[in-house]
């Protein structure tokens, strides 16, 4: 084991000891990555942070709604969630055994709702760079990124049309489950790359997406799956909810 590696490892242990035990969160070590949209040279540094091992489930979110009635499907302000909000929940969601034990990721949640949930948990939504960086980690046992492309591909092509449960797709090298292949996930600054507000500058959108497309060359054919993620984020507004989008929370390391 190299010296550098050992120091890093000890450093992690040290940081780990400082933290209150975070159940179901894993530490993502500091590092940097080459984001898809920024062209080919600039690497983005990412500080170490904690990330939820699993996407937030229906059961988790139900607990949040019970504790915060203003986020109930029939009470939520139209400003904070569109009409699809939690529309997959049954009418009697407050007293529903299968929802209480549902291990499926919660979907049909707006960015506002996801943000509020994380705050309630004393956490926050991961930033886009944190999310992308953590998602780059290969599945345990995999040796190249083709494995990730395949997971994405299977998902886009709906080989399994039914919503899968959290912890069923794959675990990556950080011990995080299902970054791909389960649901789309909200990130804190989802609209930072391409914004879809009324004030948007169309030139930015074009540039953002097409610079990205120019960087797609035969050597990184697999990158198109990130391209899809970026365009997905670009189509969203913070109050939108969709049937295939959930979230997980993150936490900074002090």
């Amino acid at each position: 084991m190299s010296l550098k590696w050992t120091i890093w490892f000890l450093g992690c242990l040290f940081i780990g000891m400082q933290l209150p035990a975070q159940e179901n969160m894993k530490m993502i070590p500091a590092g940097s990555y080459k984001p898809f949209i920024k062209g080919t040279t600039e690497r983005i540094a990412v500080e170490a942070f904690m990330l939820d091992k699993y996407a937030v489930t229906n059961a988790d979110f139900l607990a949040f709604v019970k504790a915060n009635p203003s986020w109930a499907p029939d009470k939520v302000k139209a400003l904070f969630a569109d009409s699809g909000y939690l529309s997959h929940w049954p009418e009697n969601y407050l007293d529903n055994k299968s929802l209480e034990s549902s291990n499926e990721p919660v979907v049909n949640v707006s960015w506002f709702a996801a943000n509020a949930y994380c705050k309630w948990k004393n956490k926050r939504l991961p930033t886009m760079h944190e999310w992308e960086y953590a998602a780059l980690a290969l599945p345990k046992g995999a040796t190249d990124s083709a494995a990730l492309t395949q997971i994405n591909n299977d998902w886009y092509s709906r080989k399994t049309p039914k919503q899968a449960e959290v912890g069923s797709i794959y675990e990556n090298k950080y011990g995080i489950w299902d970054m791909y292949g389960l649901v789309w996930e909200w990130v804190y600054d989802f609209n930072s790359v391409v914004s879809n507000d009324d004030s948007r500058n169309s030139e930015d959108v074009i540039e953002g997406l097409f610079c990205g497309s120019a960087s797609l060359n035969a050597s990184d054919a697999s990158d198109y799956v990130s391209f899809i993620r970026y365009s997905y984020r670009g189509s969203l507004k913070a109050k939108y909810t969709t049937r295939k989008m959930g979230f997980r929370c993150a936490k900074s390391i002090q």
Partner: protein
């Protein structure tokens, strides 16, 4: 921005006035501030149908509702693919409006979809052809309006990043902006659109196929198809017309990569609206249709038979699926085409007419039977050189044209084990594994020994129940 457009329009207008003595057909320039009268909901159709001709004589507000649906469908027999569609089929719904109409476009992204989408209509004058105004997440709708300023046949497609992938998955269709004077009436109008698919497996590999981005980069499609699937508009799904009827084809090419050398085997295009615009060419054999382009093609079907609409970059037609068909039904017209009048042996040396046999010597010798292993080896070679050109590798066939030899219920039901087919050929309607074929297989002249090897190979290698066929069996049938 706006005033620039007006300026451009005005300049064009003047240029036209100045040029008017040299242009033969008069071009109408639409004044976008001109009023529209009334409102209609556009009739949308799936290929090969085309919406009815427009009868309205004034500028109208046309409402178009188009729904994006991602779904698994058949790409070829036994092959599934997850298509992304405008309206549930590939190609997308055909949209028909009139020059000068105001189109109010509503694009809906079905809530069960996985991805955001948008639409770029080449008929739109405006940023991104509407793409910029229509990017929508699943479960959302977008609305925008545009004025149909130029007549012609235009492609529309999804332009969401990565654009190539959205197109490669089937997101394209045609919008016709009918000229003010309308088209001359014809008996049939059809909608055909070519497009390629890049699949994880090769052509014909069974099961669900994924999109393969690397093949798309390399422009190496496994499938090149007409109307979204192999056989979508051929064989039993062929378009049909009567002898003497006129046809107008609205032919598009979605790409994403290939340019089509569009050709109809057995027909000459009387009239081609080049690239779908106003330039008309006559008497065309093959017309080039760029990816993201279209052409309007007119012809009269004078004689009965089947017209094969192909991409004349011909391996695409025979090996990748680029074939649609128009069946022309009716009586022969021998003044136009006689059919085969005679077939006889051609001997340049002028020798007496005799039966040609490539295997004369062998045939006269005594019959030497081979083992199963030997027959299989010989059969494989013979199959490749004598049958594969039509029945394809692994006996897959081409749906609607050349029947498959793999697990063929037709072959298995024959008491002659297929011997008669090779000796005498086969013509007329037959049904193989549920699909109808009505074509001609010529007789193949070869020795009893070779026929025995080929058939042994086909019965064993292609799942037709196995068994060993001997040269003596063939001889016995030949002498019947």
């Amino acid at each position: 921005m706006k005033s620039k457009t007006y300026l451009a329009v005005a300049t064009l207008f003047f240029a036209l006035i100045l040029n008017s003595c040299t242009t033969s057909t008069e071009r109408r320039i639409i004044d976008p501030s001109e009023d529209v009268k009334g409102q209609v909901r556009a009739v949308l159709t799936d290929a090969p149908e085309v919406p009815p001709r427009i009868t309205n004589k004034s500028n109208t507000k046309v409402i178009v509702e188009l729904e994006i649906i991602e779904k698994q469908m058949r790409l070829s027999d036994g092959v599934d693919y997850t298509f992304w569609t405008f309206g549930g089929k590939v190609p997308g719904k055909f949209i028909r409006v009139r020059h000068g109409d105001l189109v109010e476009f509503h694009l809906h992204n079905h809530p069960d979809n996985m991805l955001p989408h948008n639409i770029d209509l080449h008929a739109v004058t405006g940023p991104g052809g509407g793409a910029e105004a229509s990017l929508i997440a699943p479960g959302k709708s977008a609305q925008f309006s545009f004025r149909a300023l130029n007549p012609g046949l235009y492609v529309y497609h999804c332009a969401t990043a990565p654009v190539g992938m959205h197109i490669a998955n089937g997101m394209y269709g045609l919008i016709l902006v009918e000229p003010l004077e309308g088209f001359t009436p014809v008996d049939h109008e059809f909608y055909v659109m070519q497009g390629e698919f890049y699949t994880s497996g090769g052509y014909g590999d069974p099961g669900h196929q994924d999109f393969d981005m690397q093949k798309a980069f390399d422009e190496r499609p496994d499938y090149v198809v007409m109307n979204g699937a192999v056989g979508a508009s051929s064989g039993e799904n062929a378009m049909t017309v009567q002898v003497g009827e006129t046809v107008r084809l609205f032919m598009g090419n979605g790409g994403p990569n290939l340019v089509s050398s569009f050709h109809a085997i057995g027909e000459i295009f009387d009239k081609v609206y080049v690239e779908g615009g106003s330039l008309i060419n006559h008497d065309v054999q093959t017309t080039l249709i760029p990816a993201g382009g279209a052409a309007i093609i007119e012809f009269t079907c004078d004689v009965p038979g089947t017209l094969h609409l192909v991409d004349h970059s011909i391996f695409r037609a025979f090996n990748k699926g680029a074939l649609a068909q128009i069946k022309v039904i009716g009586d022969e017209n021998h003044n136009v085409y006689t059919g085969k009048e005679k077939e006889e042996v051609y001997l340049p040396e002028g020798a007496a007419i005799q039966r040609i046999s490539q295997d004369k010597e062998e045939e006269t010798g005594p019959i030497v039977e081979l083992s199963l292993k030997e027959r299989m080896e010989a059969g494989e070679r013979l199959y490749k050189s004598n049958c594969m050109a039509c029945h394809m590798d692994h006996g897959r066939g081409i749906t609607g044209t050349f029947p498959p030899l793999v697990n063929s219920d037709f072959l298995q039901a024959r008491t002659d084990k297929g011997i008669g087919i090779i000796l005498h050929g086969l013509r007329g309607e037959i049904t193989v594994n549920g699909t109808k074929y009505n074509n001609i297989m010529p007789a193949v002249s070869m020795s009893d020994d070779k026929v025995a090897s080929i058939l042994t190979y086909i019965h064993n290698e292609f799942d037709n129940g196995g068994g060993l066929i001997n040269a003596a069996d063939v001889k016995a049938w030949r002498e019947k």
